[in-house]
C-alpha cells in the first residue's frame, strides 16, 4: 500500500494524480475550488497568525517577569495584548479547525466530492485573508490599544489608535465565517452519500454542523455591534456615549451575544476531533453516540443564552444576573456528558497511545479543568471577586488554548497521513504532545492562583507580591512555546523525507480513509454507500463501508 518507491514531493508515485499534484502553478492554487486545497490555503494563513499571536504572547510573558514595566511602555504593552487577542481569537481560534480540518474532511467524511458551494468556499478564504491583512495592518501600523473586546466608550471616544481599521478587518472576516457556516450546513443537508443518515454521521461532521449553526446565527450580531461602534467613532452618532443618552453596556450585550457563542465555535469542533481520535485509538464505538450528538446541539443552543454572565458586575439587573447564572450552570451539563462519554469510550478498548491520542487525552484533562473553573465564574458572588482577574485569563485559556489548540494538534496529527500522504515520527510527536500538556499547565495553572489573590487582567505593572506566580507562568510559557514550535520541525521534515502513508494507516472506519492518501481531486473513484453506524471498531469481521452494489438493497 504505502511503500511505493520514492516519488516527487508529497505525491505518492510519479505520475499519480492527487489533489496536490493536480496543478502546480500559483494560479492553480489561488483560483482553486477544491475544498482540500482551500483547506491548505487556510492552514498556511492560520499558521502565520498563530505564530504572530504567539510572539505577542511571548513578549507579554517576558514583560511580566518583573513587576515594573521595564521592557515595554504602557502603551506598547496594551497594543501587544490587543494584537495577541484580536489575532488569536478572530484569525486563529475561530477559523482554525472548521476551515482547515473541516474544509478538508467534511466532504470526505460524508462521501461527497465537494462542499455545496465550492466558489463561495474560495471566496470565504479571500474575505478572511482580506480581513486579516486589514487588521494586521492596523495592529502593526501604530497598533490598537482597546483589547480584543473593543469596550465602549473607550474604543469609540477615548482611544487614540487604529480602532476603525481593526474593527473593519474583523467585520470583513465575519462574513467569511458566515459563508463557511452556510456552506457546511448546505453540504451536510444535500451531499451525504447514500445510506449516510444523520445518525450515521461521524461526530466530527456533527460538530461542524453545530458549529456552523452558531457561526451563521451569532456572527451577524458581532457585525452589527461593530457597525454601531463604527458609526459612533467615525460619525459621532451617540449610540454608546452616555453623555448623549447612549448606553455603554449595550455594546457589551451585543458583543458578548456573539463572543460567548464564539467560544463554542472554538470548542465544538475540538470535541468533534477528539471523539474521532479517541474512538479510533481505543478501537471502540464512541460511548453513547446519540447523547454525544444531542449534547453538542444543546451546547450550541444554550450557548446563545449565557452571554449575560460577562456582565454580572456591570450594573445589569440582579434578576438578569440570576437567570444568566442559572443558564451558565445548565450548559455545563452537556459539557460534562461529553467528558464522561469520552472516558467511557476507553472502557474495554484497545488503547494505543499514539501522538493524536496523547493530544486528545490532554484535551480531555484541560477541557475538564477549564470547564470546572467555569462554574466558579458562573457563581454570582464568586464571579464578582474573580472576574477581570487572571482567574478569567486562566479559565478561558484552558478552554480555548488548552482545549481547542490541543484538539487541533490531535486532528492535525491524526489526519496528517491523509492530507499529505506522509508519516511523521511518532517518537517526536509524542514528545511534543506531552510537552504541550505540561507546558500548558505550567503556564496557566499559576494564573488561577494569581486571579484568586486579586491580580487584575491587562496590567503591565503589578504589585511585587504577585511576582513569584508570574515568573512561574512565564517559565511555563517557554516550555509551551517550544512545544508549539517543535511540531513545525518534524512535520515539515515529514513533508520532505517522511515515510509514505498507506490509505488507512490507523485502520480507521471513517469514509475519508476509504480513498487514497492523499485523495484524488474528486475524492472517491466511485460514490461510497454507507451501510452502518460509524465507529464499528470492536465488531469482529465488520466491513464498515462496502463499495457500491455490494450489499444492502439499492434505493431508487
Amino acid at each position: 500500500m504505502g511503500d511505493a518507491p520514492e516519488a516527487g514531493l508529497l505525491g505518492r508515485e510519479p505520475g499519480e494524480r492527487n489533489y496536490l499534484t493536480a496543478g502546480t502553478t500559483v494560479r492553480s492554487w489561488l483560483l482553486t475550488t477544491d475544498h482540500k486545497r482551500i483547506a491548505l490555503l487556510y492552514a498556511a494563513g492560520i499558521t502565520f497568525f498563530f505564530f504572530l499571536g504567539g510572539a505577542a504572547a511571548t513578549l507579554m510573558r517576558a514583560e511580566l517577569v518583573t513587576p515594573a514595566g521595564d521592557l515595554l511602555t504602557a502603551d506598547e504593552y496594551n497594543r501587544t495584548f490587543t494584537l495577541h487577542g484580536v489575532i488569536m481569537v478572530w484569525f486563529f481560534l475561530v477559523p482554525s479547525i472548521p476551515t482547515t480540518l473541516g474544509n478538508f474532511l467534511l466532504p470526505l467524511m460524508i462521501g461527497a466530492n465537494e462542499v455545496a458551494y465550492p466558489k463561495l468556499n474560495l471566496f470565504s478564504w479571500y474575505l478572511w485573508l482580506a480581513g486579516g491583512l486589514l487588521t494586521l495592518f492596523a495592529l502593526l501600523a501604530g497598533g490598537v490599544d482597546t483589547g480584543w473586546t473593543f469596550y465602549t466608550p473607550f474604543s469609540t471616544l477615548y482611544s487614540n489608535s487604529h480602532v476603525l481599521l481593526a474593527a473593519a478587518g474583523v467585520f470583513v472576516a465575519g462574513f467569511s465565517s458566515i459563508a463557511t457556516g452556510i456552506n457546511f450546513i448546505a453540504t451536510l443537508h444535500l451531499l451525504r452519500a447514500r445510506g449516510m443518515t444523520w445518525m450515521r454521521l461521524p461526530l466530527f461532521a456533527w460538530a461542524m454542523y453545530a458549529t456552523s449553526l452558531v457561526m451563521v446565527l451569532a456572527t451577524p450580531v458581532l457585525a452589527m455591534a461593530l457597525l454601531l461602534l463604527f458609526a459612533e467613532r467615525a460619525f459621532g452618532l451617540p449610540i454608546f456615549d452616555p453623555r448623549a443618552g447612549g448606553d455603554p453596556v449595550l455594546f457589551q450585550h451585543l458583543f458578548w451575544f456573539y463572543s460567548h457563542p464564539a467560544v463554542y465555535i472554538m470548542i465544538l469542533p475540538a470535541m468533534g476531533v477528539v471523539s474521532e481520535v479517541i474512538a479510533c485509538e481505543a478501537r471502540r464505538r464512541v460511548f453513547g453516540y446519540e447523547f454525544m450528538v444531542y449534547a453538542m446541539l444543546m451546547i450550541a443552543i444554550i450557548g446563545f443564552m449565557v452571554w449575560g454572565h460577562h456582565m454580572f458586575i456591570s450594573g445589569q439587573s440582579p434578576f438578569a444576573s440570576l437567570v444568566f447564572s442559572a443558564l451558565s450552570f445548565v450548559i455545563a451539563v452537556p459539557s460534562a456528558i461529553k467528558v464522561f462519554n469520552w472516558t467511557g469510550t476507553l472502557y474495554r478498548g484497545q488503547i494505543r497511545f499514539s501522538t493524536p491520542m496523547l493530544y486528545a487525552l490532554g484535551f480531555v484533562g484541560l477541557f475538564t479543568l477549564g470547564g470546572l473553573t467555569g462554574l466558579f465564574l458562573a457563581s454570582l458572588p464568586l464571579d464578582v471577586h474573580l472576574t477581570d482577574t487572571y482567574f478569567v485569563t486562566a479559565h478561558f485559556h484552558y478552554i480555548m488554548v488548552g482545549g481547542s489548540v490541543s484538539a487541533f494538534f490531535a486532528g492535525l496529527h491524526f489526519w496528517w497521513p491523509k492530507i499529505t500522504g506522509r508519516l511523521y515520527s511518532e517518537t517526536l510527536g509524542r514528545f511534543a504532545a506531552v510537552s504541550m500538556f505540561f507546558g500548558f499547565n505550567f503556564t496557566f495553572f499559576p494564573q488561577f492562583v494569581l486571579g484568586y489573590l486579586g491580580m487584575p487582567r491587562r496590567y503591565h505593572e503589578y504589585p511585587p507580591e504577585f511576582q513569584a506566580w508570574h515568573v512561574m507562568s512565564s517559565t511555563g510559557a517557554v516550555v509551551l512555546a517550544f512545544a508549539y514550535l517543535w511540531p513545525l520541525c518534524y512535520l515539515g521534515w515529514s513533508l520532505v523525507k517522511g515515510e509514505r502513508a498507506s490509505d488507512n494507516p490507523h485502520d480507521a472506519t471513517g469514509l475519508e480513509w476509504q480513498t487514497r492518501s492523499p485523495p484524488p481531486t474528486d475524492n472517491f473513484a466511485e460514490p461510497p454507500i454507507v451501510t452502518g453506524p460509524p465507529y464499528r471498531y470492536h465488531e469482529e469481521g465488520y466491513a464498515p463501508h462496502a463499495p457500491a452494489a455490494a450489499d444492502e438493497p439499492q434505493r431508487p
Binding site: 455603554p248 456528558i337 464522561f340 474495554r348 470546572l372 458572588p381 464578582v384 477581570d388 496590567y459
Partner: protein, 303 residues
C-alpha cells in the same frame, strides 16, 4: 488569602466548596482515564466485549441527572448569598467615588476628599456611590471580595463592611487605557478611634450637601426651582425617594440616577404637567458638581 470584610469568608466558603468539588471530579475523571488506559492498553489481557445496551443507557441517564443536580445545588447555594448581599444596609456611611483616567477621587460625607486612598472605620457598613467621568472603570478590593464596574453617565452602588484593620489594594479592573495598571490605590481600614482622629484632622470644607446648596444658587437652579418660581418648574423639596409622575403615565422613583439624569439629560423624563424647557447642564456641571448637587437634593435641606 486575607479576608478583610464580612463578605470575604462567605465568598471563600463557596470558593473552597467549588474547589473541593472540582478536585473530586478531576480525580474521578483522571483516575478513570488512567485506570482504563492501563487496563485496556493495546495488547493487555483484559476482557473486552460490548457493554450491555441497557446498562450503558442507565449510566448515561445516571450521570446526566447527577451532574444537573449538583450544578443546580451549587447555583442555588451561590445565588442565595448574592441575593442577600444585594440589600445595602440603610445606616451605611456613604462615600462618593468619581473614577477618571487614571485616578480614583473619593469624597466623605463631611466633605473630606482623598485621591487613590480611602480611610474607613472597621465594622461600619460603607456604601459607595460611584460614577465615572470618562470610560468604564471597575472598583476592586480583593481583600473584601468586592468589585463593581463604574460606568460613565450613571450612578452605580456597592457596599462592604471591613472586618480587619489594615491597608488593602484598590485596583481598577476594567481596562481603561494607557495607565490602567497604575490606577490603583489603598483602602485604609482603621479602628473607629483612629478613623475619628484621621477624620477630624482633614480639611473638612463644607459637606457635600452644603457645597451643593451653593452650586444650586450659583448655577441658577433657584431661578426656576426656587420656592417662588413653581410655575415653570416643580419644587424639589422632599423630592428624593418619591415616585414622580412623568409624561406618559409612568412613575419614576427620584433616586440618584434620576436626579443626575434630570440635570444632564433633562428631556428624558419630564414631570407630568411641566413643559420641557430646562436646559441641559452637560458640560456646565462637572461630575463633581453633579455629585454635590445630588447630595444637596438628597439632604432634606431643600426648600
Amino acid at each position: 488569602m486575607i479576608q478583610a470584610s464580612t463578605l470575604a469568608p462567605r465568598v471563600d466558603g463557596i470558593f473552597w466548596m467549588l474547589t473541593g468539588l472540582s478536585v473530586a471530579i478531576m480525580l474521578l475523571v483522571g483516575l478513570l482515564i488512567l485506570i482504563f488506559s492501563f487496563r485496556y492498553r493495546r495488547g493487555s489481557k483484559a476482557k473486552r466485549g460490548p457493554v450491555p445496551e441497557k446498562l450503558s443507557g442507565e449510566i448515561e441517564i445516571g450521570w446526566t441527572v447527577a451532574t444537573l443536580f449538583v450544578f443546580v445545588f451549587v447555583f442555588w447555594f451561590a445565588a442565595a448569598l448574592d441575593t442577600e448581599q444585594f440589600e445595602i444596609p440603610k445606616d451605611a456611611m456613604e462615600i462618593h467615588v468619581v473614577a477618571k483616567q487614571w485616578m480614583w477621587k473619593l469624597e466623605h460625607p463631611n466633605g473630606a476628599r482623598e485621591i487613590n486612598a480611602l480611610h474607613v472605620p472597621v465594622g461600619v457598613p460603607v456604601k459607595l456611590v460611584m460614577t465615572s467621568q470618562d470610560v468604564i472603570h471597575s472598583f476592586f478590593v480583593p481583600a473584601f471580595r468586592t468589585k463593581q464596574d463604574v460606568l460613565p453617565g450613571r450612578y452605580v452602588q456597592a457596599w462592604f463592611q471591613a472586618s480587619k484593620v489594615g491597608t488593602y489594594h484598590l485596583f481598577c479592573t476594567e481596562y481603561c487605557g494607557t495607565d490602567h495598571s497604575r490606577m490603583i490605590g489603598g483602602i485604609i481600614v482603621q479602628s473607629p478611634a483612629d478613623y475619628a482622629r484621621w477624620s477630624s484632622g482633614q480639611p473638612q470644607g463644607d459637606s457635600l450637601a452644603d457645597q451643593g446648596a451653593g452650586l444650586f444658587v450659583a448655577m441658577g437652579c433657584t431661578g426656576c426651582h426656587g420656592g417662588s418660581a413653581v410655575v415653570r418648574a416643580p419644587s424639589l423639596a422632599g423630592l428624593y425617594g418619591r415616585a414622580v409622575p412623568v409624561g406618559d403615565g409612568r412613575f419614576v422613583t427620584a433616586d440618584e440616577g434620576y436626579l443626575r439624569d434630570s440635570i444632564l439629560l433633562p428631556q428624558k423624563d419630564i414631570v407630568a404637567g411641566y413643559a420641557p424647557v430646562m436646559p441641559s447642564y452637560q458640560g456646565v456641571a462637572s461630575e463633581d458638581d453633579v455629585v454635590k448637587l445630588v447630595a444637596y437634593l438628597k439632604s432634606g435641606k431643600v426648600k
